[in-house]
């Protein structure tokens, strides 16, 4: 156990617009292994929420089962959390989201949770465009049960015991794009500069946002023959561009040359700026995105960054024509048709 507490050094205790410090966004002490990528992701979530001036109590943290699913306990203490059952977080999130869309839903899952036991729920939450940020803390292994292969392991990779993985991996990003996810990004838990703006963009996005984050397992999957180890990712990561997030109403300050950056406007008017490395890449064209992911996979590279965004999609509650007033706030007089109408119904049945 690491007793690692994400971000515990705030020399100047900077405050955000709500007057809160990063410390106000922290959670309990992590019980994950020292050096676990998941803790770095928790730190980035804290940073993103801090920067976006999110009120923590307006956030719901949801997870399934596995190491990743423990993570919600380690950030945003003031939020309600729901650690559900293995692979079933998407359904809990769907129901919760319909009951009250005013909250921000952060779903934290892993590769076992989302690519195996819960792949059905994962796909259908995407398809329904549930308005949530869905983190897959992807370490390519079953950590809690001590190092079995997961469905995101590369074909040639080995486990800690030197055994070969015999089955090809599921690429969650391309699958999510095909299923209709409206915001798809991949990153690496060790790349804070890239990850924080991607999380911020995902939070501001309306619809299903997937963050597939390679998060090495220091205990079971960080050896030389693993394709999800720190070293492997550092050597094979091809960042698709540098992403910068510009919240609504703030001046755009990007380091990129004007001509080489692409801007994506999100639902609320905030913007994602993307440094172009390839003039042909447009993250709003699903075909392009799928081609790029496939090409880089062939080259043995892991493409990271914002891979796809559709900022015109309708979320589940819009599709279902729900009112602005959350369902969980409706009172009896709005819900119960009453005895007079029941008498009419009786008549229609006699």
């Amino acid at each position: 156990m690491s007793y690692f507490k994400p971000i515990n050094k705030h020399p100047n205790l900077e405050k955000n617009k709500l007057g809160l410090t990063r410390r106000d966004y922290e959670g309990g002490v992590s019980t994950l292994c020292a050096g676990c990528g998941h803790d770095s992701i928790s730190a980035c979530i804290i940073e993103a929420c801090f920067r976006l001036n999110i009120e923590a109590y307006k956030v719901a943290k949801l997870s399934g089962i596995g190491c990743s699913s423990k993570a919600p306990a380690y950030f945003l203490n003031a939020s309600h959390g729901f650690n559900s059952v293995h692979g079933r977080m998407p359904s809990i999130a769907t129901g919760a989201n319909c009951a009250n869309e005013d909250l921000l839903y952060l779903g934290v899952s892993g590769d076992g949770d989302s690519a195996s036991i819960g792949i059905g729920q994962f796909i259908h939450a995407i398809r329904r465009q549930v308005n949530m940020v869905y983190f897959v803390e992807n370490n390519g292994t079953y950590g809690l049960t001590k190092g079995q292969f997961s469905a995101t392991n590369d074909l040639e990779s080995k486990n800690k015991y030197g055994e070969d993985n015999l089955f090809p991996p599921i690429d969650l990003t391309s699958m999510a794009i095909q299923m209709g996810a409206s915001y798809v990004a991949r990153s690496f838990s060790g790349d804070r500069d890239q990850l924080v703006p991607l999380i911020m963009g995902a939070i501001q996005h309306k619809g299903f946002a997937l963050l597939d984050i390679i998060s090495p397992c220091v205990t079971f999957n960080n050896h030389d023959s693993s394709t999800k180890s720190y070293d492997y990712i550092r050597n094979h990561n091809e960042a698709m561009g540098k992403t910068d997030f510009v919240p609504l109403g703030e001046e755009i300050k990007t380091n990129y040359d004007e001509g080489s950056s692409v801007e994506v406007k999100l639902h609320d008017g905030s913007r994602l700026s993307l440094e172009k490395t390839d003039n042909n890449f447009d993250p709003t064209d699903a075909g392009n995105s799928l081609d790029l992911i496939r090409e880089k996979n062939k080259e043995g590279k892991i493409i990271t960054g914002l891979l796809y965004v559709d900022n015109k999609c309708k979320s589940l509650t819009e599709i279902m024509d729900l009112p602005d007033k959350p369902l969980n706030t409706l009172e009896q007089d709005e819900l119960c048709p009453g005895s007079e109408i029941l008498e009419e119904i009786n008549k229609s049945l006699s």
């Binding site: 009120e55 109590y57 307006k58 719901a60 919600p72 306990a73 203490n77 003031a78 939020s79 309600h80 959390g81 729901f82 650690n83 559900s84 059952v85 079933r88 998407p90 359904s91 809990i92 999130a93 769907t94 129901g95 919760a96 989201n97 319909c98 009951a99 009250n100 005013d102 909250l103 059905g120 729920q121 796909i123 259908h124 329904r128 509650t317 279902m320 024509d321 729900l322 009112p323 602005d324 959350p326 369902l327 969980n328 409706l330 009896q332 709005e334 819900l335 119960c336 048709p337 009453g338 005895s339 109408i341 029941l342 119904i345 009786n346 049945l349 006699s350």
Partner: protein, 610 residues
Amino acid sequence: MENPVKVDPINSLNDFVIKFANVNGTGSASANQMFAKSIFRMGIPISPKNIFPSNIQGLPTWFEVRVNNKGYLGSRGGVDIAVAMNPQTYSQDIEEISEGGYLLYDSTWKRNFNRDDITIIEIPLTQLCVDSFTNAKQRALFKNIAYVGALSPLLEIEYEVLEKLISEQFVSKPALIEPNIKALNIGRDYVLKNLPYPLGINVKREDKLKNKILVSGNDACGLGAVYGGATFCSWYPITPSTSVAEGFEKYASKYRIDSQTEKNNYISVQAEDELAAIGMAIGANWNGARGFTATSGPGISLMSEFLGLAYFAEVPLVIFNIQRGGPSTGMPTRTQQSDILSCAYASHGDTKHVLLFPEDPQECFEFSAEAFNLAERLQTPVFVISDLDIGMNDWVTDKFEWDDNQKYDRGKVLKAEDLDNMDNFGRYLDVDDDGICYRTYPGTHPEKGAFFTRGTSHDEYARYTENGDINEQTLTRLVKKFRTASELVPDPIINLSEKQGSSGVIFYGSTSAAMYEAKDILNENNIEVDLMRIRSFPFNLDVWEFIENHDLIYVIEQNRDSQMRTLIMAEGGISAEKLRSLVWFNGDPIQAKFIAKKIYERESQQALMT
């Protein structure tokens, strides 16, 4: 009527069973329902039953209507009149007609049936429709309406009633009224011109159905959910529960539209499977919306994992289980009461759940609405356990009632101001000593009231713990909560005979209709019994007292293993000898004759002649 009848034809007024044999997917259902409703409109009690295959088109399907002026609504058994429209099943359909009964068939293709003890009515329905309609689809469809028209003079069904039903049915498609009435007259005129009428069996207007309605249990469950304030429904299609969700949608789309914004003050999500269906309902309830799912036995198996979570994390939830024939895929279109134990103890580990057992659609409505109060009061899953017989058949039932002064019980939920006024919030603190703790909805208060809902062992503050003593305390508190539940759930209905020392009878759900009739049969044969209809689990003191006060109790149910009996034995330490199991599990609704015969034989030590 060419066959010489060697047995006297049955003569009966307002008391008979008619069975329609059709091919499914040919449009017979609406014609048959119109027939049933016409008798209902004449003020005579009926009980229609669909007997249908798990299939869309081409297989045999039957519709049986028991007409009974005494108001017995259970299945009677036997057929007095068969309307045989399916040559595939002629042999079976003709064989089951009672001696002296009647057969109506489509004599476009004449047949010789080897029965000289019944009256055979020949009407060339196909030919008549071919002569009258040009469109192939109409020719096929209107055959059904034509036989209903023929039954009008044969059984003396008031023609105006039928005509009115047609104009009501097609009120939004008026162009269809005229051809339907034409079809009705084709059958009627043929009888008037060619056949003797009425038959020995006929109907005559009565006035027995004041304040009664005709409705299915699933429709009533759906309506009850609207009245009970459900805003969230998630479901996966499965026979026979699908029409619960459809009923909810039907009524919600009419009565739950926001008057100002015209938006939907409800949502119904067709999930990808039962696991997701229950998960969504749990998520909605966790967030403070009243949510439910509807399923049948196989769905309960799939939902069991989540049921344990909702039980242990104490999230309210309403589940409708419309039981069908099991085990496994079993008999999807037949009825049973065989999920009692799988619901009472659903999920791994020590779990127990609240069950409600409505006996008819009126109680489906009432229990459906009440289930949401109980679920939120008790913060636990509450099952409404119906079955295919109640759920998918129309029943004559008391009209629905609603007291506008009755307020929803939203249970122990802390608002922001409550949290402001307290120093110590613990999600699982048993503050009131009733086993029920206080909860908060997400997003209630900026600093207080947040907690972590989890299926792992937890302490009073919802923190993960591996301390066995603490976990034992939690599990023990849940037992206390279950005791509290026994004081809140519907009481049993007890009906004691005047004779001291009578044997007891325990029954529940759709067995009730047959049981009430069986009691009358027994009384006519000088056997008295005390009745207790169980309406819920956990059992309350009234249940235990009834059991205590009887030396011998028959437990009547529609499953093989006598599951309610097992539940009573397990929960109350009742001896096996005291509870005599009386089971019926062939998938058809249980019959009064069967119950009466079994009890009579045991009570009098001799056979019952009926």
